[in-house]
Amino acid sequence: MKNKNSAVELINENAKGIYQKILARKKPDLKIPLRALSNVKYDPKEGYFEIKGLIKERTLTVNTVKTFAQTLRMMSESKKLIESDDMATKREMYYISKNWEDARFDEQPESDTVIDDIEAMFMLNREQLGFIPEEKGGEIAGKLIVVDKDPATGKELKIDCTKFGSGAYSIPISVEHLKFETNANFILAVETAGMFQRLVKHGFWKNSNCILISLGGVPTRACRRFIRRLSDEKKLPVYAFTDSDFYGFFNIYRTLKVGSGNAAHINKYFCVPNVKFLGVTPQDILDYKLPTHPLKEVDIKRGKDALKNDPFVHAYKEWQKAVELMLKLGKRAEQQALAQWGLNYVIEKYLPDKLKNQKTWLP
């Protein structure tokens, strides 16, 4: 990953370019890669969503003068943060902008968009620009020791994830400095906190010798990066266990595996290409006779849209079939629907079955 100084350099270069252009009496512009699913491609060999070349050019005109000014001021703030070795959350940045008088942001989504634009413009991660998210990074329980440093003393700290009892270890926002010690066989990433709790309570990680991670919905960048580093360094396979619906398949699993369309410029680092989808698959709904909910209008649209536009689905026949099957069933099921057959059915029957039979998985 690019380092701190390169971020400052990029900002300086960009600002100089704009300055020169104005002196030459030409209208300056900002070139920002389009942040959308239509601007990513997917090659299973590469393993992640890569950005295509679509760029939106924001030329300085009467219409764009406001965002143009805000973007430049945000770049200046970023430079100040990096040079003073400080950090600010996106929310803090929104409040900092309140000092900009007319150029201030009225709502936080506006300032978040500008931050995302700058990130994409320089192909950097927001942390490298001095901005950090407030979002929670995911939770860990099981056969893992995380080696961190005491923020005050810099002394090494060993955190044993088997010793949280019924609780769990929280993944920090920045994970680059962490080291790992483990002899686990695999990592199981779970969508819901409820299912994670059940697996922790009944000691699933002990019996299966694994690391449990609660994604808590769509995995954050830190969470994805954590799993990626852990998996790469310790050569551990990763399995995903989500609800059987399009949100679970694409918003959660696909983002974990290949990154998002919105931040495609950094997907390379924030994805886990070797993750496999263990369940719950549409076929599982039939095989395990799970109680279901009917698909809503929006769900059907989401599924059809994935078949049509999602480069990830395009790359895998298995996924196409799964989506088609779900559309045909017109039904979806939750992880916790397995409780239909008893509270511990998931531990005693479903997961052991699935772990044994990889043919029932999806890529």
Binding site: V65, K66, S76, A103
Partner: protein, 534 residues
């Protein structure tokens, strides 16, 4: 039995010839004298319409002076003076002193005269309500002296009765001046004489009006906005589709033709000998029958045959619309607004009668944005001030969806906004809903044409409103530049350590650059818009 005969005899004693004046007074509402307020308008209207038509016939640019003076309580003296061709001495008594005398009634030509019953009814109304005679001055050329007379209508015989006549000196070379005193009420507002004069000036941009209302010290002048006379409307023969049975029977009796075929081809337009033959065959009447011998039943068959026969539409070059350009000029002169537009449709036909629609609108300016828009209706350049809701023009406006054109409109109501709508129908025979001739009848062809004309004006209005909006946006953008440019300066100064001088120079260049592109847009826009604005 005995008693019945006595009653009949008694009745016979009561029965007598109804005098013209009695008939007039009992049916005054048919003639536009329903109430003292309307009577004043009708008198002015009859005189002004006559003046305009007379000038038109002689190709004179009209100059018309109207004055209303209060004489005693509840009475007014109306005087209307024109620069028309004048009326020859022998005709003056008949034109002013005999009811239902005139040449216009059965002519198929676009003229104002078909609106009223004739100026003599005003003379009659004046004498019935005040007992006074009317005073006329007429001069037909500089070589002759002017003829002056004071006259009455003989209410028993319907003949003119001259009280006084003489030759006098007059300041005009030619023209007519009429003075009628009558019982009346003068009020301002809608349906007033003031409004009538204003609207007449609007619909007759080639005419000049000088109007002095009773409460004004100085007359108001309405100068002409077009120095050219409108084209002379042509007279056409009636089209077979347009005649009714009564008219047909009368025409059969009056014709000079000796055969039915000759009658059909000569007295109607668009009837060839071949078509005439078809009609006769379909009616089962011999083509060589004498028209005067055609019985009522046969005439009825002829009517039915005409309806079944395909006949070419009547010629439409007989109409003279106001025209887009003149109408816009006129609107600009009389209405204070920000935007004006007008359109003139191609001629069309209803029931065998050619007609043509002008429509225009004025928007903005001093008009209220919260109220229903103003509607001005005209038939052959005469304003229609009464019976607005019964009129095809009003119905067409209501049926038009003005929300498409950026205005507010409740269902079934006039659009809301600072808007004046102008609709004019020109026709050789304007169909009115009733004898009072105040509302145009709702023939579907007429409604369709009016709506198309209004839609065209609406589209232009919509374009204007759009541009106005984007111009306001431009204004906002200018303040945008002032607001946000300094921040680009601050940011660049911070990032690449510019000094204050460099920063100021940068901002100067930026401001120039953005202002120039904004002004360029704005100028193009203004030039485009200027064509439509005052």
């Amino acid at each position: 039995m005995e008693k019945n005969i006595t009653t009949a005899e008694e009745l016979a004693k009561l029965q007598r010839e109804i005098s013209v004046s009695e008939f007039f007074l009992k049916n005054r509402h048919l003639l536009g004298f329903d109430n003292p307020r309307k009577a004043l308008l009708t008198v002015v209207k009859e005189c002004v319409d006559n003046s305009l038509d007379a000038c038109q016939d002689m190709k004179i640019l009209p100059e018309i002076k109207v004055e209303i003076k209060s004489t005693t309580e509840g009475r007014y003296l109306v005087s209307v003076e024109d620069n028309g061709p004048g009326i020859v001495k022998e005709q003056v008594p008949k034109v002013f002193g005999k009811l239902l005398y005139g040449s216009k009634f059965h002519r198929y030509r676009q003229s104002r005269g078909i609106q009223g019953i004739g100026v003599s009814s005003s003379v009659m109304y004046g004498q019935l309500t005040t007992g006074k005679s009317s005073k006329i001055i007429s001069r037909i050329g500089p070589k002759k002296k002017a003829y002056y007379c004071e006259l009455y209508v003989n209410t028993k015989t319907n003949e003119p009765q001259i009280a006084k006549e003489e030759e006098v000196e007059w300041h005009r070379d030619h023209g007519v001046k009429v003075e009628i005193e009558l019982e009346a009420i003068y009020q301002k507002g809608q349906k007033s004489v003031d409004e009538y004069i204003k609207q007449t000036a609007l619909a007759n941009p080639h005419a000049q009006f000088i109007y002095k209302a009773p409460d004004n010290d100085k007359p108001i002048k309405y100068p002409r906005s077009v120095a050219e006379l409108p084209k002379e409307p042509k007279e056409i023969k009636p089209h077979p589709y347009g005649v009714e049975l009564g008219v047909l029977i009368k025409m059969l009796g009056d014709t000079k033709a000796s055969t039915l075929q000759g009658f059909l081809t000569n007295d109607f337009c668009r009837v060839s000998p071949k078509v005439a033959k078809q009609i006769c065959e379909a009616a089962g009447v011999y083509v060589k029958s004498r028209p005067s011998r055609i019985a009522r039943q046969e005439a009825d068959n002829l009517m039915k045959a005409i309806k079944k026969t395909k006949i070419m539409a009547p010629p439409t070059d007989c109409l003279v619309p106001i025209g887009e350009e003149s109408l816009i000029k006129s609107l600009k002169k009389e209405i204070v607004a920000d935007f004006y537009t007008a359109t003139t449709r191609s001629p069309s036909v209803y029931r065998g009668m050619p007609f043509q629609i002008d429509a225009g609108l004025a928007f903005g300016g001093g008009m209220s944005a919260e109220e229903l828009s103003n509607v001005m209706r005209f038939a052959n350049r005469v304003p229609l001030l009464y019976q607005q809701s019964a009129c095809a023009i009003t119905k067409s406006i209501l049926q038009t969806n003005w929300r498409n054109y950026g205005l507010q409109q409740s269902k079934g109501a006039l659009p809301i906004g600072p808007l004046t709508l102008f609709v004019h129908i020109a026709s050789v025979w304007v169909p009115f809903t009733s004898e009072s001739k105040e509302a145009v009848a709702s023939y579907p062809e007429i409604i369709d044409e009016i709506k198309l004309a209004l839609q065209e004006c609406g589209r232009k209005l919509n374009m204007y409103l759009h541009k106005k909006h984007s111009r306001e946006l431009e204004g906002k953008k200018q303040s945008y530049i002032k607001k946000y440019l300094p921040h680009i300066g601050i940011a660049l100064k911070e990032i690449i350590n510019l000094d204050e001088k460099e920063k100021q120079k940068l901002l100067k260049i930026l401001e120039d650059m953005l202002e120039r592109s904004r002004v360029k847009l704005d100028t193009e826009f203004n030039e485009e818009l200027a064509q439509h604005e005052k």
